[in-house]
Each structure stands twice: as C-alpha cells, then as structure tokens.
Symmetry: C2
C-alpha cells in the first residue's frame, strides 16, 4: 500500500493511516496522501491493460494493504455512452454519458462502498453505521454482506421505497426515522458514541472518497490519458466532484496526465442548492438550505460536511455550479430514455436538464468534449416515472 | 459479415440471411450459420484483448454488416463473481455467478436486444412488435429508442409493474392484456399480419439468439478459453441454454476451444416446468404446462417454441433439467443477498435453490467448476422482497 498518511485539509494536521480513524481532531474530513514517486516508479499506465476490468485495476492508488481484504462485486469501469441525438440538438460535437447504472446495486455508490468496506475489513471493523438517502445504504449493505461486517443504516421514512427494500434484502439492520438525512445522522452519532461502531457516513471516515476518485482515473483512461473539457456532476454531498478532482490530481502527480483538468460543474436541484448559492456568492462554505426538497432524492443535502472541498475543486478547475428545477429534471429523464435508450436516475437527469442553460451562458462551447455523470439507474425511482400504457381486449386490434 | 445463410433445424431448409425474415416456411425457428474457416483465418482470440469491453468484441461472430448499424449501450462482458461462502457450505470448490445484473435495463435480455435491434436497423425495419414477460420488453424498448425504431410491446397485466414502467419510460408503445404471454402473442400475431411489422418475439426472427450466444463466448474467454464443468441456467423460453450451446459450438468450429463442453443444466420453477417433464420423459419436445404460475415471472413459458432445441442442447452436453419451488427460490434469493452481497432476480435465484438437489443427486461433484447464470437484478422485483425495517423515534437508541 502506497498511502503515506492522512492529511487534514482544514488544520493541516497529519494522522497515521493504519488505524481505525474518523475525522480530524478539528472535525474536518481526512484525505489519504500517497507516495507518488514510489507509485510512478512501480507501475506504468500500459500495465493496466492486462488487469481486471474493475476499479481495482488502479490498486497502487487505492488503500488496501493485503489483496485478500478486497471486497469486489465487479464495480467500476462503467461505460462512456455517446449521446449523439442530444448533442446534435444542443450543438455539441462530443457529448457522452459516464453511465453508473451498471454498478453493484445500480449506482455509483458501489465505488466508495467497495473501497471503504475493504479497508474497514482490513482494519478489523465488525460493525459500521451510517445515515443514508438510500443509494449509499444499498451499496454499503451489499459490500458489508459480502465482507461479513454488520451494517446499521438509518434513513428517512421519505426515502425511496426501493432503497429500503434493497438494504433490507441485503441483510443490513435498517432503521427508519421521521425526518431528513441530518436527523438520521443524529441517530447514528448517538449509536456510534454508545457502541463504538465505525461511522461510515460521507467524510466521517477517510476511505469512501478513495473509491469515488476512481471516477477520475476512469475518465482519464477512457479519454486515452487526456481529459474531457467539462464534466457535469449531480451534486448533493459533493463527493463526486471532490473524488474526480482528487483522482485527476493524483494522476498528474504520477505523471500520467498533463496539467489540464476538465471544468468540474456541479448540478443541483433548485429545491436544494446550497452549493450553487455559495458558488455564486463566492463564499468558501455553504449555509444550511431550509426546506430542502427535490425528486432527485440522492442530491438532497442541505449542508454537506465537505462542501468547502467541493467548492475548492470547482474553483480550481474554473468550474461552475448550476441548479435546475424538478420539472426540467423529470422531462430530461423521460427524453433521454425515449431518445437515447438510457433510463437514468433523476440525479443524473439533472445534468441533462442543465445543458441548455450552460450552453446559453457560454459555460460550455460547441467543440467542448462534455461528459455527463449519471449516478445510477432510473429503475430505482418508480415514484418519478410518468408513462402511458393502454389496456386492450384479447381480440382487439392494436396500431 | 461472416453469416453464410439461415438454416432450419427442423426441415433443414436454407434461407438467405440478408433479408427481413421470420421463421422457416415450416414454422420452425431459423439459425444463422457462419463461415467458420474464414473467421478462423481472419482473427485470433489474442486479438480480442484490445477490443471494447462489450459483446461486440466478438463482431466477426455476430450478424452485422456495417458497424455503423451497431446499437450499443455497453452490453455484455458481465462479471463472474466467486460465491465462496455458498460454495464452502455445499462442498463446491469453485462456484461462480455469471451476473447479468449490470446490463442495460438490468437483465441479460440486453444481449439479444442489442444484436437483434442492430440487425433490424441494418435491414431497414421501422416498427417491430413482440409479446413479453417484461424484461425482454424493457431491453428491446431501450435499444429501439436508441435506433429510432418503433417498438410495440404487449404484456400481461400481471407482469411486474417495474417492467411496465421501464418500457413506458423508454418510449415504446405498451399494450396490456388480461392474460398470459401466449395471449399477448396472439394479439401481436394479428397486428403483425395487419401492419406488416417485424415480429421480434423469441425465435420469430433469427437474430436475438445471436446476442444470447455471446454468453457462451464470454464464459469461454473468462475461463481462459477452457469451459466450466457445469452451467446452471434459469429456463423459460430456453434461449439462454440454446444460446450458450450455439456460442460454444461456434468457438469449437473456429478452433478456439476443445471438444469438451460444460453440462448445461436447465432450472425451472415447479409452477411451470414443461422442460423438466420432457427431459425426464425423454421426449423431444414439451407439452403445454397448464396453469403456469411462479414468482420467477421471467421463466413462465408454458410451451416455448424452441423447446426441442433446448432439450437437444441439454442432451448433447450430458446436461440435466431440474425444478425448484417458489419457497426455495425466494429463500435462496434472500440468502445470497445477505451472505454474498448479490441481490439477484428470482429467476437467477432458482439456480441457487437447485444446487443442494443437484449435489445430492450427484449431477454436480465437489471438484466441478460450476457457474450459475443470474439473468438480472433483484431490484426489478420489489413484489418478491421480504425484509425487516424498524421505525425509531429521533431521540431513540438503536442497537
């Protein structure tokens, strides 16, 4: 393992990596720092071609010491699907969907779960707990089941029923609260304090983000060790953007890509857009978003812990932040399904909905190579579906 | 394209491949025959490593003339996931799940749809129709949406609601009938006769099976151009088994694998087991199964058209056919999820449920390398889920 230490991006403290640890003593999230020189000397990007078609192909850049601890369900290496019809209509020569639908449990949360659970097993964790909007809970439940780690998941009664089913079927301990994810977090915090479990919430342990950063690795590899010009990322907790940024920075440090980075563009719902407000007002952190509510349930995060890191990644890449309303999201979801055959989740559809505005505002130009991150399958959101089916008699004609 | 012609396995008639064609004049399904010598001279299996990680990597063995007609959503090349806990318990040294969950629309139907729709586009089809139990409809709707082909899908009102939603969202024309798939088929047949559409039902056109056979290619490639000892396949229409058999036979003909084939084992539900009955009674074809009913909706096929081919593939590989009841299926689904982290569909779970019996009867030995085919994600079957979730107050303790 090439992790040197854990580093606090707020108070600059340094912590040992080979211990069960949560946040920094100052309360900020911890980030793993790698020995780039050793990694650069050890592997070349050409070596990857003979490796498994999962995110573990980048194992030198991931935090597991003994390969026997890797819990894998074939996560990562998701496709980049060309969206030619939509691109033509918007005057974009190269528009692609980084489609996370074909992941374990149908969402990009498999990345953080595979790496986070593997590292938890390596460090001897027996029980972990977290609050979840649903999809992270499903993914962590799957990997914990495989690892033999008990997963305690707390979610809102209002979270999608599909997630509840998924988590329950995967054998996790599931608790429902009458509140939002912050309320679920409070219940988890008390349980952690009481039982000594690991808190596996976003940014409460340092390894989940190591899985997410493989999105950055894959984008670079899939663009032939170049990078696209812009990546649109649905933004709730903000880990997608922070992960892509961290991954690409690490590739720069080992010399696999050049100095250019894609513009990272956060897409939120107008029902919960604290990141967009902070970006527009050029503030370093977000304020709590009151009465957060959107059909894109996975990006409902009124005040995410690592927002300052998301905002930093956006600014350092000359990025942008934009919000779209639920009507536009649901229309985009339906249109993409019926025209490109990609039935994506509302969170992913938010990036599609944001495109016309980004084109109008000149954030994206006609020759830009643009990637939309779809974070999961539309199948998990039956409650947002709107379609027509006609009942016919057995002897009737259809046309 | 290396397709020489279409061949009728019943009356031995030969038909030209470059035409829109349905079944043979004798009514039997048509099978594509390739020029094995030319293919063997043109490519080596080593050439595959640099190709896309989709089923189109085997393009010389697939029926599309112009690559511009390929409609791809990154289908195929699904993982083989080791099931170590389950294997240990059953005394099986090497047990793996060929997991089709991470396919377009969540099921293995993406294979037939990608190849079938690509070929339909190449031949100029504008509208196609088919009866469906749900998952095939979803996959064909996705690829037709992308291809700009109109898909008319007729399904039972009793089919899973998730499939209805999926098909509707993907922009297909969806008709519901108060009956089973045979009734839906009758409605389709009348519409085909009336409007001149393509009938894309299983075995009613020759190209869907060409997608399914890639399961055989992948198994061989994933076993290092050897084959496993046994493959358990959920069996409704039987196309999974016929496809694997056809694919492996073609690899033999071009010299990529040896003479040994895996035992192909059909798994049905006791609620609809015409293939098992025909196998046990050593009959060449099935009889209609009355009152077919199982929670594994996708394998409800009371009298599949190509059953004689399925039975032939089973016998020629020294295979077997076995039925399990719904209770065992649902228990196996839940156990696999909670222990291996694989939340699979009831059809796939039927193969898990069949294992103890196959071990007891000596069909599978302790050193056999055994593959279970999981045909899709459990997420599409919320109605079969059975789990526990506890509501807790915001100030309550959890343990």
């Amino acid at each position: 393992m090439f992790v040197k230490e854990l580093h606090c991006p707020k108070c600059r403290a340094v912590h040992a990596a080979d211990q069960i640890i949560q946040t920094c003593t100052c309360g900020a999230p911890l980030l793993a720092v790698y020995d780039s020189e050793k990694i650069a000397a050890r592997i070349r990007k050409e070596d990857l071609t003979s490796r498994p078609h999962t995110l573990w192909r980048y194992r030198e850049l991931l935090p597991v010491r003994d390969a026997a601890n890797i819990i894998s369900l074939s996560e990562g290496m998701t496709p980049l699907i060309p969206l030619e019809k939509l691109g033509r209509e918007l005057g974009l020569a190269d528009l692609r969907l980084k489609d996370e639908s074909p992941q374990t449990t149908g969402t990009f949360k498999a990345r953080g779960a595979s790496v986070g659970v593997s590292r938890a097993r390596e460090l001897g964790v027996h029980t972990l707990a977290m609050p979840t909007n649903g999809n992270a809970g499903g993914a962590w439940a799957a990997y914990c089941a495989r690892a033999g780690i008990r997963a305690v998941l707390v979610m809102s009664k209002n979270a999608p029923a599909m997630n509840r089913m998924e988590i329950g079927m995967l054998g996790a301990s599931l608790f429902l609260v009458d509140g939002v994810i912050t309320d679920a977090g409070a219940v988890v915090n008390r349980a952690i304090a009481e039982h000594g479990w690991l808190n596996a919430a976003t940014f409460k342990e340092p390894w989940r983000i190591e899985g997410k950063k493989t999105l950055g690795f894959e984008l670079a590899e899939q663009f032939g060790w170049d990078v696209p010009d812009a990546v649109l990322v649905p933004c709730g907790g903000g880990l997608g953007i922070i992960g892509i940024y961290k991954g690409l920075r690490e590739l720069q440090k080992i010399g696999w890509i050049g100095s250019r980075l894609p513009r990272l563009i956060a897409v939120q719902s107008t029902g919960c857009a604290p990141m967009v407000r902070a970006f527009q007002e050029a503030r370093p952190d977000v304020e709590f978003w009151e009465n957060a509510k959107t059909c894109a349930f996975g990006i409902t995060a009124p005040r995410p812990v690592g927002a300052f890191l998301t905002l930093e990644a956006i600014r350092k890449t000359d990025g942008y932040a934009v919000a779209v309303d639920d009507t536009a999201i649901l229309r985009a979801q339906k249109e993409l399904a019926a025209r490109e055959g990609c039935y994506i989740c509302p969170e992913g559809a938010a990036t599609v909905a944001a495109l016309p505005q980004l084109r109008r505002d000149g954030v994206i130009g006609p020759r830009d190579r643009v990637v939309l991150l779809n974070t999961g399958t539309g199948l998990k959101y039956p409650e947002t579906a709107d379609y027509t089916a006609r009942e016919v008699a057995l002897d009737a004609s259809i046309a």
